[in-house]
Symmetry: C2
Subunit: 377 residues, 2 copies
């Protein structure tokens, strides 16, 4: 016997199944969605109607010629205009906000210097950035699915609490609660609100917005002063027992090597981090060590794709090329197929776009735990 | 509307929910199982009856005094005698078979030298070992849930095909199919049959048979001629994009270090593998490098527990102590809590016991993919 709660959950699951089908196979008809999802045609018909009404989906023009007999069916696709995701990055020196379509197109972007790293001041600045964007979207009849916020720190998966963000000087800050309260005070409806680590968010952006089959496992390496990674595997972010997984910058590549910011010797960050790179000779060396680091990740995670992003990568394109060359050399020695290594699709916007992707990612996985707080849904 | 298939699946899921509750909280009454699982009392009552009949569960003597009013309820627990799991390890030099209870107690064990590494010869020898054990169990009215086989090689998760087992000289061997055919010919009913990599199996043994909450993520490090790892995370084995995750022996700890069996320089195996250890000075060095390796795994996976097993670990207890000391030193520097590092609970039997655990693990996760072949269930 099903309760009303069961039915609601089942409906959310079935809706997410259809939306995930659309992500991978744009242009399917209702009949083909039913065939591929295993849902009945009448269930698909009802849910598609809802998803059209809520601007998740849109009907494309029907093909002029069908594939033979009968009237042509209407292809469906994700609505790339009527519903958006908002992503925000709290970086050490600036605040970035992007408005992204369901298909991963960046519709608008805005960056301002961070006035102060004080949590309440950041919250005020963030709300001031959100307000005109939300008002404009509302005026144009566009629905906001939610707002994702990312920052350089360790975030608790299920509560969104920021445990520790050393470069912002934050410890145990309920930033989500602050932003939620500020939005409520301002009377702004922005959908569901989430907070996540910046590299984790960037990994989700690369994962959610690629066309076709998803790259799983996917590792996003963020190269800046610190070197961290976001890891997606088994279709979920992987953050470890206490949310501290992916600290690749503090894996040791050279026992008794140069001293690292953490006080140990020979950590990856001591070779690859921004402080280690000054001239082009340093870039080549850093690229080589980045290649060694990737080969280690390869051995441990056997990833489908490794994505390289962050400020150093944007400033020194030679870094990626050298890393690829080093990994290619290891791969030749082992005789295994080479893992794809590529630059971040969204460049320096990767974390902000990833924060927007987080909203979509969570919506499409109604059964997953760790949904952060919910605001005004 | 539910189909018969849906109902069957729902029943399997609900049965697995109850069995997993029993794993963590032995002695619960039906009423408390209902409260903790969220299932109705009548559903629990029906399913417990089935699980008692099928020897998954057993009723313990009721407590003399209840916790207050009313008649005392009957505590339930996993049936540690009426149903067993069989695990088999195909090692390079021997064949091990163990009979294990649902609670992880080793009821019998048997080890014979491997006559030949030829797959068909191994299959014949394995069947000859299984036959008297199965006959004896049948004569005593004990149900066999299934047989898990593990071996030192890369195994395809969903088909059980052995891609490559270098130390056995196997490549693309359908060992599961061979054993299945041999058992069918011999008219033996041994339940479901699975094949898995030995370190992966060992990780599952440590994961499934601990009391209370499970250690997740858990990494099992197998130290032998080769150094490999089995990784359990998000309640599942993690094997990567092509089943090659956990190759910790070929992560580089020392760029330009000593040459490794793989042709590269400075791999963990070149410091920790059996070939690198001859005297006690070597053990101390290997233990230190093992500590560095664990610190790297710590940074990447943030595991709850790291378990050390394998022949070298059994022969040189100093290895584990030195590794713990090295990790403790790193941990002091970082100020983070130290990850638990311990010896394998089942010593050299860890892979065989883990192969038995694999049978239980798969049964308790009816929704997971990659169920290998099914035999005679």
């Amino acid at each position: 016997m099903q309760t009303t709660g069961d039915q609601q959950l089942l409906k959310r699951i079935n809706r997410s199944v259809l939306l995930r089908l659309m992500q991978q196979h744009s242009g399917l008809s209702r009949a083909r969605m039913a065939a591929q999802s295993g849902l009945t045609k009448s269930t698909v018909s009802v849910l598609v109607r809802e998803l059209l009404d809520e601007q998740w989906l849109v009907e494309a023009s029907p093909p002029v010629s069908g594939d033979g007999l009968g009237r042509p069916s209407t292809p469906l696709q994700l609505n790339a205009e009527g519903r958006v995701l908002i992503g925000m990055e709290v970086a050490v020196e600036c605040l970035r906000i992007v408005c992204v379509s369901l298909t991963g197109e960046v519709l608008s972007e805005h960056e301002v210097p961070l006035h102060s790293a004080d949590p309440q001041a950041v919250c005020t600045q963030a709300t001031a950035l959100l307000q005109p964007l939300c008002a404009d979207l509302a005026a144009r009849g566009i629905t906001i699915s939610g707002v994702g916020v990312c920052l350089p720190g360790a975030v608790h998966d299920s509560t969104g609490l920021v445990h520790f963000a050393p470069n912002l000087g934050w410890r145990n800050v309920d930033f989500l609660g602050m932003v939620r309260a500020a939005l409520a005070t301002a009377g702004m409806a922005c959908g569901t609100l989430y907070v996540q680590n910046d590299a984790d968010a960037a990994a989700l952006g690369e994962y959610e917005f690629g066309a076709g089959a998803k790259d799983d496992p996917l590792i996003f390496i963020n190269c800046d002063v610190g070197v961290g990674a976001g890891i997606v595997l088994n279709d979920r972010l992987f953050t470890g027992a206490r949310g501290a997984a992916g600290e690749i910058g503090h894996t040791i590549l050279q026992i008794d090597g140069p001293v690292c910011s953490c006080g140990r010797h020979g950590c990856a960050e001591a070779f690859i981090g921004a402080r280690a790179i000054r001239g082009s000779a340093d870039v080549a060396r850093a690229g080589h060590y980045l290649g060694v680091l990737i080969q280690n990740l390869d051995a441990l995670f056997n990833p489908k794709t490794v994505v390289i992003g962050g400020k150093i990568c944007a400033e020194h394109p030679g870094l990626l090329a050298q890393a690829q060359a080093t990994v290619a050399q290891y791969t030749r020695q082992s005789g295994m197929p080479m893992t794809e290594i590529r630059a971040a699709r969204y460049g320096l916007q990767a974390p902000a776009v990833g924060a927007a992707a987080l909203v979509l990612h969570r919506f499409l996985r109604p059964l997953s735990e760790g949904a952060n707080h919910v605001f005004g849904h």
